[in-house]
């Protein structure tokens, strides 16, 4: 097991952080989240052109940079730290992981290169109202008519569903679970932007009413979905760790700078101990995340439990630290103009995105053989 990053990996982190400091400072994030599309296309293009971020974990045969999940987690950590509003989770993580987990070599050759270089924005439509993400209760159906597959049903919590050029949809074809590709602007597809807790991440519902779709080859779709979600869970946990780190840093800075009763509030044990507990949460979250990312690359048999572990720990830790960040800031932390609520919103939203804590713990218990 290796939980320490190499020098090259630390350099990757430094360059991503520098890039985001320059091109996506908080003032810019504030502007971007007010726009209808909710992300910055120019930044997205530079992420691909300058740093190849979107294709970080896509093998080079399909136009990616060919790195692993450790590198991907570094990128996600930095995106989470800077709260960058972008379809990265949707396209580079969820949709890419789904395509990579399938057995459809033609689709990979055809679709992955343009996703890896950022030209195409893709997303994964898996969740449904009343059902989880894991594909056990999929009500969306796929049926063949004379011209091909047609989808009926409704998907929800589709990350960047409105921005996506390409949708990877999980649907039931008779008794079988399957993956389908739908063009973002296909006829008989109704896309609705949802009002959301997280202002920096757009979620949509998708209504399919006889939408034309292409079926992807998958020998064992449930297994592929599970693997795709496990890898995406590790990436999301990394993003949560990054958000947590930002919250810890700003809390400590504020506790040093803000004075009440004639001294910095960070000298009072009540505030100091809150910050110390945040630091403990950060150190443990980082350890868990490094392990899960290592397992994703080097110990695939450990990935299912490791992914659930990382999601469980990082979700709880990030939300706790985000909430305590508001507490350390006091009244100013509750103001719209202060960034604390953006991270608080992100923390709660991410905690519940790919299955909430109760589902994740049950999944973990199953995977541990309890």
């Amino acid at each position: 097991m290796n939980l320490v990053l190499t020098e090259e990996q630390e350099e990757l982190r430094a360059s991503v952080r520098r890039f985001l400091n320059d091109r996506s400072p908080m003032s810019r994030v504030r502007q971007v989240i007010e726009t209808p599309e909710g992300y910055d296309r120019a930044l997205w293009d530079r992420m691909a052109a300058d740093l190849s971020l979107q294709g970080m974990a896509v093998p080079d045969t399909w136009g990616g940079a060919g790195f692993g999940q450790v590198e991907m987690s570094i990128v996600m950590e930095e995106l989470g730290r800077a709260l960058v509003p972008s379809p990265f989770l949707a396209s580079a993580v969820l949709a890419s992981n789904a395509l990579l987990a399938l057995d459809d070599e033609d689709a990979k050759r055809e679709l992955l290169p343009s996703i890896a270089d950022g030209r195409t924005i893709a997303t994964l439509a898996a969740a449904e109202d009343g059902g989880g993400w894991d594909g056990t209760e999929v009500a969306t159906t796929a049926a063949l008519d004379g011209e091909g597959w047609r989808l009926h049903g409704t998907k929800t919590l589709v990350v960047d569903g409105l921005n996506a050029d390409l949708l990877v949809v999980v649907a039931r074809a008779g008794d079988e679970l399957g993956f389908f590709i739908v063009e973002g602007d296909a006829p008989y597809l109704n896309r609705t932007k949802l009002a959301g807790l997280d202002l920096a991440r757009q979620l949509a519902s998708l209504e399919f009413s006889g939408t034309a779709a292409r079926r992807l080859v998958s020998e064992y779709a449930a297994g592929a979905l599970s693997r795709a979600l496990d890898l995406s869970s590790v990436a999301l946990a990394a993003e949560q760790l990054g958000g947590l780190e930002h919250c810890l840093d700003t809390s400590v800075d504020y506790a040093k700078a803000r004075a009440q009763f004639g001294r910095p509030i960070g000298s009072f044990q009540a505030v100091k101990h809150l910050c110390a507990d945040m630091h403990v949460a950060m150190e443990l979250a980082r350890s868990v995340l490094r392990y899960a990312a290592w397992a994703a690359d080097e110990a695939p048999e450990e990935l299912p439990a490791a992914a659930a572990l990382a999601r469980a720990y990082c979700s709880e830790a990030f939300f706790k630290v985000a909430a305590d960040t508001i507490q350390v800031h006091g009244g100013i932390g509750f103001i719209w103009e202060h960034d604390a609520h953006l991270y608080y919103r992100r923390a709660k939203s991410s905690e519940l995105l790919i299955g909430g804590p109760v589902q994740v713990r049950e999944q973990l218990a199953q995977r541990l053989g309890v």
Binding site: V4, V252, K256, H273, L309, V358, R361, A365, L368
Partner: protein, 407 residues
């Protein structure tokens, strides 16, 4: 030519397999086999003869002169065995390393080898009834007497004092200086006239700790560790060794663990209960997070990054885990956690897990002290204003000392 790491690991594994008792998995509560002092000493001497004690300690004083990498390899191999750590962990984890850091040539030559061979057991004499978290307010005095010192006072919370041959003692040598400045560290002979050890019965009913009384005990000058009146720096050094040895441990936990409690849930037919499953998963997450942090700290140390005050993170998280896991154990046991057949040893051990959990949050620096350390030394937050820092010790109101009339 030095032995390759893998060869060393194989040698350690082979020796342990042939000579050390295995940890037993049958015992759900995982209470280790109890060593008595004689067998523990004999084992430790054999371990040293085999070149497996003091692995990263200098050869000049009886160590093996290898690196922390070999020590970690040994620790990893030793996980599956019950070694007699309880008698020697204070000496090996705290007193020995501090003497190596600060001791005189004579002290290193005299004390280290017998310590490593288990011939001499060590204890640490810091805490006092009036000096707990604020250990610098200690009142035990060492008064100059010819070529030595006369020590009088009381220490408390002293592990293994009953078995100890030597103790690392801090005492006040100059009460006219501020409290941190007038302290000196000594090596004290626990068999000297005037030393009285009394077991301290704790809330579990057991007596891990002791009270130690000093009544005019003579300690020669050559037993001063570090500088006269420079004992505070020596104490900090020793406490850092302590936190690293507690918090940086990657040894699997015993007692109320995810593994033992999953077994318990299964044996009671509770493992299908969704609430029980949630609690077990939660326990796994916390336990694994603490363990992975310890592993990461050790790996970072291997890459040359000193854990320093971050040992406090593991110590604090471990203490919180102990309380949480004891709580899960009690939830699963229900009524059996509060009353059991008096011959049921397993039930008694679960109760012991509940009763011993508070100790983890106090011993070796309370959770609050750890949070101060993390806040101040890791995060750089300012200290609280200290009213007693620059005042001569004798004017302070501490312990049984009334202090000056000043406010």
């Amino acid at each position: 030519m030095p032995e390759a790491l893998n060869d060393f690991r194989n040698r350690a594994r082979a020796w342990l397999g042939a000579n050390a008792p295995r940890r037993s998995d049958d015992d759900a509560t995982g209470v280790p086999r109890r060593w008595d002092l004689d067998s523990a000493r004999a084992f430790q001497a054999e371990l040293h003869d085999a070149g497996l004690a003091g692995i990263a300690w200098p050869t000049a004083y009886g160590g093996q002169g290898m690196t922390p990498a070999e020590q970690r390899a040994f620790d990893e191999e030793a996980r599956d065995f019950d070694l007699p750590g309880e008698f020697f962990s204070i000496g090996m984890g705290m007193c020995g390393p501090t003497i190596l850091d600060l001791g005189t040539e004579e002290q290193k030559a005299r004390y280290i080898r017998p310590l490593l061979r288990g011939e001499e057991v060590w204890c640490q004499l810091f805490s006092e009834p009036g000096a707990g978290s604020d250990v610098a307010s200690l009142q035990t005095r060492a008064v100059k007497d010819g070529d030595g010192w006369l020590v009088s006072g009381q220490k408390v919370w002293t592990s293994v004092a009953r078995y100890a041959d030597f103790g690392a003692l801090i005492a006040r040598t100059d009460p006219d200086r501020p409290k941190h400045d007038g302290i000196t560290m000594f090596v004290v002979d626990m068999h000297a006239p005037g030393v009285t050890v009394r077991p301290l019965r704790d809330m579990t009913g057991g007596a891990t700790f002791n009270e130690v009384f000093f009544d005019g005990v003579r300690v020669p000058d050559r037993n001063v560790v570090g500088e006269v009146d420079g004992g505070w720096a020596a104490s900090i050094r020793m406490l850092m060794h302590e936190r690293v040895s507690i918090g940086g441990s990657t040894r699997p936990r015993r007692g109320a663990t995810f593994g033992s409690l999953s077994k318990l849930a299964r044996s009671r037919g509770m493992d299908g209960d969704p609430v029980v499953r949630q609690r077990l998963a939660e326990l796994y997450v916390r336990e694994r997070a603490v363990h992975l942090f310890g592993t990461r700290l050790a790996q970072e140390a291997r890459h040359g990054r000193n854990p320093g005050s971050r040992g406090s993170v593991g110590k604090l998280a471990g203490a919180e885990l102990a309380r949480f896991s004891a709580g899960v154990a009690a939830e699963l046991l229900g009524g059996d956690a509060i009353a059991w057949d008096s011959t049921d040893r397993e039930a008694a051990r679960w109760a012991a897990a509940v009763l011993s959990a508070p100790a983890a949050a106090i011993a070796g620096g309370s959770n609050e002290v750890q949070r101060n350390i993390i806040g101040e030394r890791v995060l750089g937050l300012p200290k609280e204003p200290q009213v007693d820092r620059d005042v001569p010790f004798r004017e302070l109101r501490v312990g049984t000392q009334a202090g000056a009339s000043r406010q």
